[in-house]
Each structure stands twice: as structure tokens, then as C-alpha cells.
Assembly symmetry: D2
Homo-oligomer: 138 residues x 4
């Protein structure tokens, strides 16, 4: 039944138990855009004392999932790539996804992950397949 606004997306992603488990939170979404945040705790770190690459990826992937589901169609990730540019250390990480292209079946997104100082920590690019099936949130 058409696009999902932020409250609808927030409700939808409340069921993402892995995101919840690691502490990643949806903070904005709609119109092909999605934002998520992760407050860094010691359980997000790797053996070098920096945020683990998989934690950064999962945060970016959440923003991507919000963005690609925001048009109302169920969307699944086909593939994604990440470039780790700088280590995440402390504070809160933000991931912001924007739509690069969207056709009937295929949509692509760029996600930027930044820290509290606004430094770019990682870039992520994801491609989603859009099903005909619509989300029904009632």
C-alpha cells in the first residue's frame, strides 16, 4: 500500500532481532533514505580495540535495509561491499543510506558511516531486489 514513513519503518525494523541484539537503532527513514546509529561499547570491539568490521557492516546494512524497504515493496539484499577507511573507537557511529538508482526490480544504495567527529569511517554499497509483494503492517 505504498511508501512507508519513519514510524512505519521503525515498527517494521523492531522485528530485526540481530540489529537489536547488537544495539543498532533505526533513527530515520523514508523516500529511499535510511539512517541508523550504534553507540559503541566494549562488546563491539575486536582484538585491536577498534570497532569490529562486522559491527560496522551490520550498522551500514541496517541503514541500507531501511532505505530499500521504504518504498513499500519487500526488498532483499543481493550483494554489498564495504571499504573500511578509518577505525571506529568511541562514541556513536551513524550510518546514512541514500538511493543511487531504483528500477522496478533493482535498486542501489550508498551508505556512509561516520563517527561523532563527522569523520568518514566506511563506505558501503548495496544492491537490492524488489519483490512485487508489499509490506502489510496492520
Amino acid at each position: 500500500m505504498g511508501s512507508l514513513d519513519f514510524p512505519a519503518l521503525k515498527k517494521l525494523f523492531r522485528n530485526d532481532r540481530f540489529a537489536e541484539f547488537i544495539g543498532a537503532e533505526v533513527v530515520a527513514g523514508g523516500g529511499g533514505m535510511g539512517k541508523a546509529r550504534l553507540e559503541i561499547h566494549t562488546h563491539h570491539l575486536n582484538g585491536l580495540g577498534i570497532v569490529q568490521g562486522g559491527a560496522v557492516f551490520t550498522l551500514a546494512d541496517l541503514a541500507f535495509a531501511v532505505a530499500c524497504n521504504s518504498h513499500g515493496n519487500k526488498a532483499v539484499g543481493l550483494n554489498a561491499s564495504i571499504n573500511w577507511l578509518r577505525p571506529g573507537l568511541t562514541g556513536v557511529l551513524q550510518a546514512e543510506a541514500r538511493e543511487v538508482s531504483c528500477t522496478r526490480r533493482i535498486a542501489t544504495y550508498e551508505v556512509l558511516v561516520t563517527d561523532d567527529a563527522g569523520e568518514l569511517l566506511a563506505t558501503f554499497h548495496g544492491t537490492a531486489y524488489r519483490k512485487d509483494e508489499q509490506w502489510d503492517l496492520n
Copy 2:
């Protein structure tokens, strides 16, 4: 001081708190190879009831990290890509990394993620930068 065998790699990755937090475990490693496993629990699932894409990535990334650090040099991931081929549902996921190429500075790896039935769920390709600095595990 040269290559790390499996006990040394296991000891090294005991400090990866994010891997431990999500329940991913190193089960083999050495000579450019790495294996990790993840027993699926409900907290690994997304809103569709399948293993979340970030959880699959994190498992693959752990196998990659073991493989690229197995030569003894400290290695950091530059970038990685993942193709999600089939959903993970139940049981135990396995990720196995093998070395595709290794020069003095740059090494590349392929990781295959499979389920209990041996079905291929995801392919992952990672590129690492190898520092001169060696791991000192004493």
C-alpha cells in the same frame, strides 16, 4: 616470529569481543586458511525470520581475519564484498576462508558460508593489507 598455528590463532581471536558477543567461534586456521562457525539462535534473525545479513557477514569476516593474520603479520581488512545467495534458517553456519593471492603488502581471500546441509548461503571476498609488524603472543 613467523606463521601462527591454530592454537595461536585461537588465542589471538579470543580477544575479538564482537565475535564472542554474537557467538561466532574460530574452529580452524593456519597457512592462509581460516574457519569459523555460528550456531543460529533467535537473536541472529531479522524481521523475516532468517539469519540477518550482518550476522552472515560477521561470520565470514571472522574466517577472513583468521586467514589473513595466519602468516604472523598483523593484517587489516581494506574492503570486502558479500553475495547473499540463500537464507540461513537453523542449525550451524560454517565459514571457510582460503587464500587467493598473497604478496608482501596485499592478500586476497574467498570465504564460503554454508549451512548444515552443505548448501552455499553466501560468498565473501576480502582484501587485506599486511603490515611489517608481527603478532607477539607471549
Copy 3:
């Protein structure tokens, strides 16, 4: 009307003018597989005197295109990535594509590019979208 065998694929790719222009040639194909070759000439080199990265990519992409169209459906590339591992210098380069996964809409392929000595020069991974429309070669 179903799968394409090698003669049919060879006929189909005779119309790929860019492949022909650079001298890349389809040498095998069928059942999700594709092979292409490129004899290196000076016009394939870059300023460093090695085979240009785009020439290596184009060769791999041709093998990918053969493989993903071999089931008879028209297939279009969505995305691809390449890792350049070693420089190509002289002789003939071979690219061999194998199918990693194939669903109704999406298929993924790995392509290995090797030289005369069998050395691996590049790895390529491509994802294709499969249309319902079938090739009609009559």
C-alpha cells in the same frame, strides 16, 4: 527455447562489436559456463607496459556474459568486481566463468583470468539479472 550450446553462443556473441574490436574471442560456453581469450598486442597495454585493467576486465566480462546467457534467457549484468592480482605481460589471456548460483531472476558467477603459464592474474565476480525473454537465434 531452452539452453544455448557453444555454436549458438558463438553466433550470439558475434554481434558483440566491442569484444571483437579489442580482439577478445569466445572459445567455449554452455550450461552456466563461458570461456574467452585475448591475445595480447601492444594496443592492450597501459603506460606501464602491462595489460590495461580495463582490457582484463572486458575479457572477464565477456566470459561472464557467455555464461549467464547460456541458459537461454536474456541476462544483463547488474554489477561486477575485479581484483587485479598480477600484471599481464605477453601471450594469451584466458578467462573462465563458472556459475556460483542461479535462481529464477538472479545468477552469480566467478571468473578467473590466467596467462599462458597458468598464473592467476585476476578474479572477477559478477551478478546478472535474468529476464523471462528468451534468445531467438533463428
Copy 4:
């Protein structure tokens, strides 16, 4: 001996015989940026009558090469990915590379390929390794 300006980059890439062979031309460069253009002719097309994927890649890769060599260090591509978003048909294609990150050894770039109407045809992301060795253009 330091950064290369556009005339120096133009001179440097005059030796890229594959770029010249396919008709791709460097039109701007310097300070981590690079631009290239390709006037479409029939020999750039594939069997579907659209610009072949390898031709689009080669154009983007040229802009990437200009950008990553513009600081004066010799730089080599480690890996790159491309998303084909829309077919190229006629006229002139432009590729513009901008630097996303640059450390002593590793730099990453985004390249956008557009057509005469300003439509985005492809996105490209490349990672380069920067050697200590400097270009000497005398």
C-alpha cells in the same frame, strides 16, 4: 616530485595505449580528481546495441587511474567494482573520479559515469595502492 597537474597527467596517460585504442580521453585531472570522456561509436556496442559493459568500465577506470596518480606517487589498482544502472546509447560518456580517502599506502575513489543528458549510467568504486616511487616526467 609532488603532485601532477593536468598537463602532466595528460602527458603521462598519452602512453595508455588501450585507452587511446578504444578512444577514451583524459579531459581533466589533479588533486585526487580525474575526468575522462568517450565518444560512442558502433565499435563500443555489444550485441544488444548498447555500450558494452567493459567499455563503460574502461572509461571509469581511466578516470580512476588519473585521480589516483595525481598526487605524484605511482599508484596501482587493487580492485574495483561497477554497478551498471542504465544503458549507454549515443553521444559522449563522461567519467568523473573523486577521492573518498587517501592514506600513505591506500586510496579509494568513486567514479560516476554519465551521458549527454546528465543521466547516471554507472557507479564505480576503486581502491589503489600507492608506491613510494614518484613519477618522473622529464
